[in-house]
Symmetry: C2
Subunit: 157 residues, 2 copies
DNA sequence: TAAGTGCAAATACATATGTTTTCGGCTAGT
DNA sequence: ACTAGCCGAAAACATATGTATTTGCACTTA
């Protein structure tokens, strides 16, 4: 495994097992697979959890902002927020500067739920990274960030 | 950024931007985002393309095998294969050893389509990996494989 | 200030995926 | 040889997501 061609999907020697993007999907799939089951026991779905993690960082946040950060369409987030409202996890209010935008905030109950979930997610992370050095994690992150940046430039055709 | 805690979702200093799994999702999202548009022009959706890449490696393959490799539910693959049959991309036949299993094979037309798509995907890959050394790609792959392996062990709770 | 344009969110509509159930074939134990 | 149980696939059913359209607000400019 010394030739870049082996990683390139257009190379004849390409194997799915050696594809970075396939392995990303695989790791991501496994990571969420069993975590979802646990989260569901606490009445929280994967997209709901994602929204909560976004809100933990910046609050309040608009529907559009959340959608972008959560890599999901606005209409989808809009409906997810509806459900979260019913569950009492968030509150919404129009932005005073611009009445078109809806600002979303975690309720105390929502924060409480998030705090309860955090250690569970932490264990899953620890499990995933078992036997991997900090150096390697840093390196992984750097490369992933580089890839994301590359793909944020102008598209292929 | 020297403490492992910064990557752990349960750490107070955790930031989404520094989360390996978030960055994986982000990279994967961007990678497929504009590629899907191009594939659609050739009448191929993302799941259809995934199935084709699986079939390129082992042919014929059963519905269940494809589902597992493509990280998708069997019922979903079953329906995707239906569509691909109508498009003439694959043929199916019962496994002579076991009549329950359906073996799927790419038709010449399917192989032709795959060959046409391959260089497009290759360009996207090249674009994604721009400025990243082979060494770093190898390292990335190793780490991802390690993570996948870790997560294939017994689940959290 | 009134009309036009653009944007955020929500809604209606279409589609795709997942979950559950059903059907048929295989296999092992009696 | 028969029956009970398991497994693969497909069908029925429920749900979630995405796409297109609509609504309401804000900014511009004439």
């Amino acid at each position: 495994m010394e030739n870049r061609g082996d990683y390139d999907p257009s190379s004849p020697s390409f194997r799915l097992e050696n594809s970075p993007f396939y392995q990303m999907a695989h790791a991501d799939f496994k990571y969420h697979e069993d975590m979802d089951k646990v989260l569901h026991k606490h009445g929280v779905s994967k997209p709901v959890y994602r929204v909560m993690t976004v809100l933990r960082e910046r609050q309040p946040a608009s529907i559009g902002t959340i959608a972008e950060a959560a890599l999901t369409k606005r209409s989808t987030i809009s409906r997810i927020i509806d459900r979260m409202l019913e569950q009492g996890l968030v509150t919404t209010e129009p932005n005073p500067e611009d009445n078109r935008v809806t600002e979303v905030t975690l309720t105390p109950a929502g924060q409480q739920t998030l705090r309860k979930l955090t250690p569970i997610v932490g264990r899953q992370f620890t499990r995933a990274m078992d036997g991997i050095s900090n150096r390697d994690i840093t390196q992984l992150l750097r490369t992933l960030q580089k890839i994301s940046a590359n793909l944020s430039k102008l598209p292929i055709e």
